[in-house]
Symmetry: D2
Subunit: 142 residues, 4 copies
């Protein structure tokens, strides 16, 4: 199997944004932009809104989990192409710092694409700021 | 330290619903009802809406992660009282089945409350249906 | 697919002990006994030895992780039969208390057996004592 | 708090090897060498032995979990100094490929050291070979 860097991503940013917008209505409330797609990598910017806050004025956990899942989904699709029925099999996230009220950046990297499972990591940072969460997850491939 | 069953929960259902509704606006789109609170346990029903779907017509992962996090939050607060600044430290979730388009039930059980960290598990089922996800998480205590 | 309780376990205790003893030499240093096998469940007792200690005189993490993995392996094989090439796909463990220097009991329960993946949980307790760790893991099925 | 690169590691390789050798007897069967220590980083080489194999002739999961835990322990101690009573709070590992019968390299990186918890990741590779596992874990600080 090809390694990261060998090939071009099999999806395009606009195509992925449309897929998510159409098929996962929840994310309409968590609007995001695909900033970069590579071969097994994706960088996604989640635009801040007050909906994302929690007690204390920092961004809540479910918002970060949604960003982690979405970024990994994009990174997996760069390898396997537009297969909407790939589904998350597991996700494990550690929260490192309470994120301030600003955009978040999620950077996903696929570590391995097997026949049945793809595994990758996601780093979430505040825009122009520190790392706020780290996640690892698997997608079951159709 | 007291064991489950020894004491009464330190929060009430309406109080928790109001806390979440006020401090985590995102959950207004994922309306839920607290069905039961015990000493270190919480059962929460997430009311279905089409916003929760994903490609294929099943409920998406972020919705289940949000339910898991909310149910564990409630279960932790039954032990420590209304301390809104308790924050998730980590969450690990395995998705077992694609949930049909109906309400979800999240049952959280605290396994351990230490001085600094509380750990618990969450089982998510379809209403009147099978287990669809299992999660484990930690809360950092203020 | 059958539910827990419907059927008899597809492996026997002595058979599993022999499999592990022969194929995973490391576990010769962590001798265990299968105490109970059900349909998708396994209870395993890890016999204490001083090899399992760490600084502070409590049982170390790798010993508990090995017990968790072994107990889940047994529980999965009760459902699929003696398929030694089933391999762990992921394991997530939370340590709840420092276990005293005595036997540990690992109770594994399979939550779901799919075509490709089995998922289950493992509770680890001190013999006659409290819960000391909780784990969740997946096995990739051959 | 200082960032990686700002400071010198607060432990030395020989000192860490002695700590582990003395306080975690199990690891005498999984002999390792500290190859590099930085500020919040550690690279550890686990020397292959047949004890580490499993059915199929590849290295077993518990061996990789032990390496992950040990490498993260070293990386945490480079930040906080020789505090043997730091204990693993949780560990989540994904297995990516079955490792061949040869040495394994574990590279741990601390993502965050708080007052109470340190979080980091560990990449495990076959010596001169591919990535075989990825883990994330927390240590509770004394």
């Amino acid at each position: 199997m090809s390694e990261p860097g060998d090939e071009r991503p099999r999806i395009e940013a606009a195509e992925f944004e449309a897929l998510i917008h159409e098929t996962i209505p929840l994310t309409r409330l968590l609007p995001f932009r695909v900033q970069e797609l590579g071969w097994g990598t994706a960088t996604i910017r989640l635009l801040f809104s007050e909906q994302q806050l929690r007690a204390g004025g920092t961004i809540n956990g479910p918002t970060m989990m949604t960003l982690a899942d979405t970024a990994l989904y994009a990174a997996v699709l760069t390898r396997i192409g537009m297969q909407p029925l790939a589904v998350t099999s597991d996700l494990s996230i550690h929260f490192l710092r309470k994120p301030e009220a600003r955009d978040l950046i999620g950077r996903a990297t696929v570590l391995r694409v097997g026949r049945r499972i793809a595994v990758g990591t996601i780093e979430i940072s505040s825009a122009d700021g520190p790392l706020v969460a780290h996640a690892t997850g698997s997608y079951a491939l159709p």
